[in-house]
Subunit: 150 residues, 2 copies
Amino acid sequence: MTLTYEDFPPGRLGTFGPRHVSREEILAFAAEFDPQPMHLDEEAARHSMLRGLAGSGWHLASLMMRMMFDGFIGRAASLGSPGVSELRWLAPLRPGDDVMLEVDVLEARVSSSRPERGIVTIKAVARNAAGEALCEMVSPLMIGRRDGSS
Amino acid sequence: MTLTYEDFPPGRLGTFGPRHVSREEILAFAAEFDPQPMHLDEEAARHSMLRGLAGSGWHLASLMMRMMFDGFIGRAASLGSPGVSELRWLAPLRPGDDVMLEVDVLEARVSSSRPERGIVTIKAVARNAAGEALCEMVSPLMIGRRDGSS
């Protein structure tokens, strides 16, 4: 059953995960996309502001995307997103972290220009097993309406 | 020679690239982080709002990070970034695109709480070979000052 706009009222949408993040994944992503020493080199990372090896913020954001796909986007009438209005990195993603993702719907409205779709603004917060917030993301998602697909 | 805060006055910082993006890369990133049909399946993508296979917006953002690393962050006294204040996906990233990245410094100021570092707000625009803007990103970067490292 496909989730439509009507399935995304304001409030808590769900909590997803845990997603285990290995040291190997952190190093592989960093080598390809963000080879700063604090993401790639244990010794350099120890002397950085992050005080130890930490995943790229772009890696964490991409993992959050995957957790949202597995959690609800993959079975929603998703029409993509025009962007992100807020992305804040709050604490380091560490090798071995088990990441949970809390997703809330902040606002849901029908598109005025395209009334067959809704715009659902979500806030996603990634936390480690200790409950510490690692990253916050606010993004509008475009989702088809139930009667728009018929 | 390490780039410091003083090397980032407001104005055009540089234009970087091109970075060729292959179909294989697009599929590999999508399979791992964003397996929506428009990023992974040629036939489904043709019928989507993107009218053909297109890379994940998170893939493009991660490629922009890599182009900034290669262009200037890799040789700067970079102290990371607290986040992104704007990330807008404007047009699809297509297989075979050669991406250029224009980077401007919007604002540069010394941190009031940590005067040994500067906060440099950059705007990065990714364009395809036709000059079409694919993604805009605005982000504050923390960069050490020249005399802060002595």
